[in-house]
């Protein structure tokens, strides 16, 4: 839970760190080509806690990052969002999800995926396989 699993070209699964900590592990990881990204978390549906799974697959490239706010006045750090992005093969579009107070779907042009700006840290995917962007309840 709260960790990203990367399903790789060679069949191996790479589990990253807890995204709620200061070391989510995406930046330090060096995966071979990514076939699928999965993230299990606890969401809220109809005011009830619900285990959920987010899946991105078939993307040309993948990205993940934490959005944070550091207050100048008291130094308090606030986590504002968790971003899961994928570049759709053969297009200039980026899709994915951001988990904030609620979950939103991302549909942006490359270079404008984060509030109109670009992001760094993309990792290679395996285009040519089925493209999926799914969030599902885990029963």
């Amino acid at each position: 839970m709260w960790k990203i699993n990367l399903f790789l070209e060679d069949g191996k699964v790479l589990e990253l760190g807890d995204v709620r900590t200061s070391k989510p592990g995406w930046g330090e990881s060096s995966p071979t080509k990514i076939a699928k990204m999965e993230f299990s978390f606890v969401g809220k549906e109809y005011e009830k806690q619900q285990p959920m799974k987010l899946i991105l697959a078939g993307m040309k490239e993948y990205n993940f990052f934490v959005e944070a706010m550091k207050s100048v006045v008291n130094g308090k750090l606030t986590i504002k969002g968790l971003w899961f992005l994928g570049k759709i093969p053969n297009t200039n579009r980026i899709t994915g999800f951001v988990i904030q107070d609620s979950m939103k779907i991302i549909n942006a042009v490359e270079g404008r995926e984060f509030n109109g700006g670009p992001t760094a840290g993309w990792k290679q995917g395996i285009p040519g396989t089925v493209v999926s962007t799914i969030v599902k309840e885990v029963l």
Binding site: S71, V73, T78, K80, A120
Partner: protein
């Protein structure tokens, strides 16, 4: 990469020079927990006791007036410390074409370009209060300009109004690639129409500036 440390520093000397130490140096003071930023009338001086007399800025009878002095209220020493180079010369301001005034040091990389933003309070969720434009970001009394890669360009720089994500400044042109400083200058503009605000809006202590950044 893992979450970078972000240190906020202010230049309280009259020297327009880079910050040489993320923990502070002879020019820059590291902003500490409990410290505050305030703008005051010209009568307020560096070294004045925070517990002593305060000289608030005065709303002009007509038009606009830049607040005379920006201060760091240093609660570790109990003293006002002026950020001497802050502001521009617009509206009788006492600043100028100065670059190394306010600083943020990042210990490592970010995924996106970092921003300086202003919010109603520490939840960083809204920017509707009177000082932040009362719903009209262009009317925010706080204006800032990025100086990471160069001077403002003119002593009469105007800056960008700060109001949440609607109106903010990018602190660099690209995501932070490795440990580095970013810089900005800022001013507070007082306008005659502020006289219509409720008293509580004049003395709003909840406003915060925030560095908006990302990591992975």
């Amino acid at each position: 990469m893992s979450r970078p440390a972000v240190n906020i520093l202010f230049n309280t000397s009259g020297n327009d020079v880079v910050c040489s130490n993320p923990a502070g140096d002879s020019n820059f003071i590291l902003f500490g927990t409990g410290d505050k930023l305030v703008w005051r009338d010209a009568q307020q001086m560096t070294g004045d006791l925070i517990s002593g007399a305060s000289y608030p800025t005065i709303i002009p009878a007509s038009g606009d007036l830049d607040a005379a002095k920006m201060f760091l209220m240093d609660f570790s020493t109990g003293l006002y410390d002026q950020i001497i180079l802050a502001g521009s010369t617009l509206n009788s301001g006492t600043g100028g074409n100065y670059r190394y005034v306010c600083a943020a040091w990042f210990s490592g990389v970010t995924v996106t370009i970092p921003y300086l933003e202003a919010y109603d309070d520490n939840t960083h969720a809204t920017w509707e209060s009177e000082p932040l434009g009362d719903g009209t970001p262009a009317n925010s009394v706080f204006k800032a300009i990025t100086t990471t890669n160069g001077l403002p360009g003119s002593a009469t720089w105007a800056g960008t109004p700060l109001a949440g994500t609607d109106s903010r400044i990018a602190l660099d042109t690209v995501p932070i690639p490795s440990a580095q400083y970013v810089y900005w200058n800022m001013r507070q503009v007082l306008s005659d129409w502020m006289a219509s605000w409720p008293t509580s809006a004049w003395y709003n202590n909840d406003l915060v500036f925030a560095i908006h950044f990302t990591y992975n």
